[in-house]
Subunit: 424 residues, 2 copies
């Protein structure tokens, strides 16, 4: 890059057309799977009052905020996640909606973290929330949606695993050990980091709580009886043919402080990468945000675009599925080649007719040589080229892949003719 | 709203599902019309280094920035528009792309203005740019795209008007009057505000430049010969059957400082509202941003979601078209009614099968009375309900609008049967 040239900020991305097509492929799949599960889309602002993130939703997020004062002296923040905003909307208007609410959002979030592989300072998040239903059938519905999304993205059984847990298991464990509420929070934070604890810091931390690493590891590996909610979730997923995509793993507790019950994360099967996605039940968040005025159980899940894209690119059959989908899109259906410049006005008239019928038309804007126009048609990856010469209204339709050519008349029938060729 | 409850920041919007559907209707139309014209989508970051907006792109925008210091001490800004970011991308990577480049973006922009009707502090902008072609055929192509967009949104001839102008007309006028470059800029700013100048401030301002209001109004109303570029644009649009949507109006100069040639704005036919959209040629922006290293002619256009939505809502046939499109979407295709709770697992198995085939299924998650489930199906605006009772695998498919009912068997044939009913 030239010295002194403008650059994106660290951790921010440009989506040039090829990258934007990948992003849109993900978004299309998010929307399609949400639709199949009866979810409707909403969106909240990217900028919110900072106080929204300071109350009960914090955890480690509060140190990573893009926070600033606006021109009116307000303390505002670029959203680090969307669940707090959803809580705000629910407090204001949940009464207008039939329960359970099936809502989803695809939105950009911002966290001031050190940029590294799989971690940018902005990312898109697909957030799915099922609101107003406390039964574990809701948890299972949401987990099923995540599995269906993985399948739709081209992943097969064994490529990924849903690690399922329940925070209440650790609450009970903490109660049994006589820990205070604060100590219980601390225990959850230690368990959350256990798997990534290369330096053996967890043991000493647990000792401060009067616990040993060994007893915590036994609690993870030999849990004895599961909660009835976990059993219900597993039975429900079994009926859907999705039981084998899930394993109970009590080491999963999720980093955010607001989860209250069943939690889960999606990992690559080898568990070598960061979690692809995660979610869980947050039955007290709305109540906490509204000072107890609105009480709504809820379960939600979020998947970021960066990690899932990396996993697709590392999984050959998922990558091939994506490439095939992207290849099927082309910037235009028909590229016009104007072989006789006297026909320029006729070409414009015809282009307008085709476009109004939904056919994508492109052309070199100014007079240029036949071969140059032909090359432009190929570079635009157009499947068809329409040659407009001095025999107009007779024109030639070329299929670029095969070089097959047919003569057509540029009258009202041409829309139908070209549509038929596009379907081939 | 409850006192003390969280609120959106002034000028920011929540898109609850009904509003989000309207937003997505606009986006779908933006993308569809861009596709017909052979444009590909890109996206740039919402946050950029402030210096990007301080160089040659400013105008009145620079006083309206959401500008702040990030945690790393950088002076950053929420983008007020996307053309500067596009310039940055072009400087870095234009060489990789065949010219002309047909690129578009749908992105959110932020301006700290006093919120009022049609003016929010965030808005989505559909930006379309044709890069690397200086010929007025490019200007015409872009104007044609805007007209096609208006038609696609349900507007008819006479609902809107494209006001077409050329900044060089005023440059020539300024030269003839012996104005300096700075004075010429000032003249453009006065002409830009002339139509909205209720308080008669323009006359005295023009006098300071040695001009009279009268001679400027004569220059607007009796321009004599048009520029050859405007003539070429008009002839081009005539060939497309779009000449009647356009009028030459030299009072249009556009507020942003970087326009260099043909400029245009879309207004409601009565010109009573703010401009719906606008654009023009900016042949020197990329060169200015790159200190002369990259020289690329370009023409662009942008339309905001707020003003176009208002105009749709005020135009009965456009509004009806939108309502019909929104009504055709429903949150689900088939709502399951489980009449016998012993069939819950079978219902889940069947739901998974239908969803995997792309059919949207919803259901009440927990056991509830038949009538309550039926009501939920209607509230979800499902066209079909599938009643699953103790005759399973025989099930009943009800068409909710007509209450027609057919018996189906929940085997492999059911996907095809339900798909057929959905097409009706």
């Amino acid at each position: 890059m030239a010295k002194g040239a403008f650059q994106t900020l660290p951790g921010f991305r440009d989506f040039r057309p090829d990258d934007c097509a990948v992003r849109n492929y993900l978004f299309r799949n998010f929307r399609e799977v949400a639709r199949r599960y009866g979810f409707v889309e909403y969106e909240t602002p990217i900028v919110e009052a900072t106080e929204l993130y300071m109350k009960k939703t914090g955890g480690e997020l509060s140190t990573q905020l893009f926070r600033f004062e606006d021109q009116g002296g307000r303390d505002v923040t670029l959203r680090p996640e969307v669940t707090a905003s959803l809580g705000r909307v629910l407090i204001e208007s949940q009464r207008a909606y039939q329960k359970p609410m099936r809502w989803f959002e695809i939105g950009q979030c911002f966290r001031y973290e050190a940029p590294q592989a799989g971690r940018t300072r902005e990312f898109y998040q697909f957030n799915v929330d099922l609101i107003g239903e406390a039964d574990p059938a809701a948890d299972a519905e949401l987990i099923a949606l995540t599995i269906e999304l993985m399948r739709e993205l081209g992943f097969k059984q064994g490529d990924f695993v849903i690690r399922l847990s329940d925070r209440r298991y650790w609450q009970n464990f903490a109660n049994d050990k006589g820990l205070s509420a604060e100590q219980a929070e601390e225990l959850l934070a230690i368990v959350d980091k256990l798997e990534r604890d290369k330096e053996g810091k967890s043991g000493p931390k647990l000792e401060k709580l009067g616990l040993t690493l060994e007893e915590v590891q036994i609690a993870i590996n030999s849990p004895g009886e599961l909660s009835s909610d976990l059993d219900a979730v597993l039975a429900n997923l079994d009926a859907r043919g999705m039981r084998d995509d899930v394993e109970v793993d009590l080491s999963i507790v999720r980093g955010l402080a607001y989860y209250t019950g069943v939690v889960f994360e999606i990992f690559d099967a080898k568990k070598k990468k960061r979690a692809v996605a995660g979610g869980g039940r947050y039955d007290t968040l709305v109540s906490a945000l509204s000072d107890g005025k609105v009480d709504l159980p809820a379960v939600g899940f979020a998947i970021g675009d960066v990690v899932i894209r990396n996993l697709i690119e590392d999984t050959p059959h998922a990558f091939e599925k994506m490439q095939a989908a992207l290849k099927a899109e082309s910037a235009c259906d028909v590229f016009f080649i104007v072989a006789d410049q006297a026909q320029q006005a006729n070409a414009l008239t015809l282009a307008s007719k085709l476009r109004a019928a939904g056919i994508a038309v492109s052309y070199t804007l100014t007079p240029s040589k036949f071969n140059k126009q032909f090359k432009a048609a190929e570079q635009a990856r157009a499947p068809l080229a329409l040659v407009i010469g001095n025999e107009f209204p007779e024109v030639s339709l070329k299929t670029l892949a095969t070089r097959d050519e047919v003569k057509l008349s540029a009258d009202d029938s041409i829309v139908e003719s070209i549509s038929q060729y596009l379907k081939k």
